[in-house]
């Protein structure tokens, strides 16, 4: 009986631990990404072909293997 009561408590503890860990991970990661995002996008903005729609439309290939 004692064991039966213990077990669910243990598993809910584990669940809590599992739930909090990724949240911290994601929050930390998001912070780093946000800081990095702007400079890499600025750099890529400078090299992207102008007029995306025309450029993409005119990329026509013949099938290969």
């Amino acid at each position: 009986m004692a064991q039966e009561q213990k077990q669910p408590r243990r598993s809910s503890e584990t669940e809590e631990a599992v739930e909090t860990a990724p949240e911290t991970d994601v929050a930390e990661r998001k912070g780093t990404i946000d800081a990095d995002v702007d400079d890499i996008l600025d750099e890529i903005d400078d090299v992207l072909e102008t007029n995306a729609e025309d450029f993409v439309k005119s990329f026509i290939q013949k099938g290969g293997q």
Partner: protein, 502 residues
């Protein structure tokens, strides 16, 4: 027993002429190949020797009739299109409407990366040279596999295998592996469906172009397992497994794991180590479903009744591979085999938790991360042309324009090789296969090599009326250890030929 095996890749590049969407791609491709050949291949230009090619030979044991074959399958007919062999042992040529680079034969995954990357540099060099021709418009090239409008072109892998392995075993064990390995080596694509009419992102460039499970075709009704059987080696001993399902990768880790893990799985098949049947129900549909779900949560139904994600299915192969290497090699496993296993495990573990954790290694994740950053900053929907442009421009081979190259330059994608090593591989052959003999002959005796192919070098020698063919049927002979000293010593092709035939 390890990741080591005779293997190579062949990549067809997307090509366009700036401002001329309807320019003839065969002409543009020929210009590129010829520009490179004229500038770098010395004196006489050695031709490709087609004698040993048999593209209609089927691994299941019959030949397709030439009359029923689609014209695009007749790859052994010399259409007069540009076709040269380079001093690094590679082949640079025009295949249908695309410039194509085939690496020389190598024996390790890292050497695949090296000579595949050298191919990108060769194409870049060729593109620059073609653009300098008088009156020519700039030619642009892309290492990708689709135009997003219904056309696809390939990035093939070739693995030398034991002939004694039943083909049915290869089909059985490799099909589930190919359905799932895209989570590691997909190149990512904006647009769903062959012509991309559905908006969204998918893991693989090629998945939507595969329509059958097994077959000989490569240009239509593409099969997950291709049965082309031209070993370019002793057919009694070997078959060449021609893999057409992969994406063209730019990220070095993607290429490394693509080839390294496949080579390991093939070793397990050859050694009959795979006792588990991991067959997937409806593999063609499953291939697409996996590709269409970049969250990697899509479940596959196995024939044994289990449901697994593609990552979990890859983990099954990983676990078997770990056991196999431990069982056969133990502590004697070579460094690359150990490294492939470790990286494979690390990548799968992170893909399982959050795919974005692999943005610094894998093409599809790097591309998706960039796209998501643009979507969030600019509020773009998946139908926005800018996202399709980012997808396309990721694979632009120019370092100043290609987004893969910009990400590498910004330290956001890991490299496995240093650039000087790649630059050298544009000219130098691998030292541990017959590509060494081929490459050195082309470099040293260019004036007297009339033609060459995977399995021969043909000399045109002064004083002899007929051409002299030196067969190179064994991929592991003609290495530096075998012929390095001989090639160093022989000043002329005549001396070499005399020494070889004495």
């Amino acid at each position: 027993m390890s990741v080591r095996r005779v293997m190579g890749t062949e990549v067809e590049y997307g090509i366009s002429v700036a401002g001329q969407p309807h320019a003839n791609p065969m002409v543009a491709s020929s210009q590129v190949v010829n520009a490179y050949a004229s500038a770098t291949v010395r004196a006489r230009r050695a031709r490709w020797d087609f004698e040993e090619e048999s593209p209609l030979r089927d691994a299941r044991g019959f030949d397709m009739s030439r009359q029923v074959a689609d014209v695009s399958q007749l790859t052994d007919e010399d259409l007069g299109l540009a076709n040269v062999i380079l001093s690094n042992g590679a082949r640079l040529y025009v295949d249908h409407a695309h410039p194509e680079y085939s690496t020389p034969e190598v024996t390790t995954p890292l050497d695949i990366v090296r000579w595949d990357k050298a191919g990108e540099q060769v194409m870049l060099d060729a593109q620059v040279r073609a653009g300098q021709l008088p009156g020519g418009a700039p030619i642009l090239m892309y290492k990708n596999n689709t135009d997003g409008k219904g056309a696809s072109y390939g990035a093939h892998e070739n693995y030398l295998m034991r002939r004694s392995t039943p083909f049915a075993d290869i089909v059985k064990h490799l099909t589930p592996f190919f359905v799932s390995r895209q989570v590691v080596c997909g190149a990512g694509r904006v647009g769903i469906g062959q012509d991309g009419r559905q908006h969204g992102f998918q893991v693989s460039q090629r998945a939507d172009f595969f329509e059958v499970e097994v077959g000989l075709e490569t240009t239509l009704k593409r099969p997950i397992i291709n049965t082309r059987d031209e070993p370019h080696a002793d057919p009694e001993k070997y078959r060449r497994l021609h893999v057409i399902i992969g994406d063209a990768n730019l990220a070095e880790v993607s290429t490394y794991l693509k080839v390294g893990t496949t080579s390991l799985v093939l070793a397990m098949i050859e050694d009959r180590f795979l006792d588990r049947d991991l067959a997937v129900e409806g593999p063609v549909a499953a291939l697409r479903e996996v590709s269409h779900d970049p969250t990697l949560r899509q479940l596959l139904r196995l024939r044994d009744g289990r449901t697994l994600t593609a990552v979990q299915l890859q983990m099954e192969y990983l676990e078997l591979a770990r056991k196999y290497v431990e069982d056969r090699l133990g502590d004697d496993a070579d460094a690359q085999t150990v490294d492939v296993l470790a990286r494979w495990e690390s990548v799968l573990d992170r893909l399982e938790r959050d795919p974005m954790l692999c943005a610094g290694e894998l093409d599809w994740v790097a591309k998706l991360k960039l796209l998501e950053q643009y979507r969030s900053r600019d509020g773009l929907d998946w139908d926005d042309a800018k996202l399709a442009l980012i997808d396309l421009q990721y694979s632009d081979i120019r370092p100043e324009k290609g987004l893969y190259h910009r990400l590498v330059g910004a330290g956001r994608i890991e490299r496995l090789l240093d650039q000087p090593g790649v630059d050298d591989a544009m000219h130098d052959p691998p030292e541990d296969t017959r590509a060494y003999f081929r490459g050195r002959c082309l470099e040293k005796y260019a004036d007297h090599v009339a033609a060459a192919s995977w399995d021969s070098v043909i000399f045109d020698l002064p004083g002899r009326e007929s051409l002299q063919r030196v067969p190179t049927i064994d991929p592991l002979r003609g290495t530096r250890a075998h012929v390095g000293e001989l090639l160093d010593r022989c000043e002329t092709a005549q001396q070499l030929f005399a020494a070889l035939t004495r």
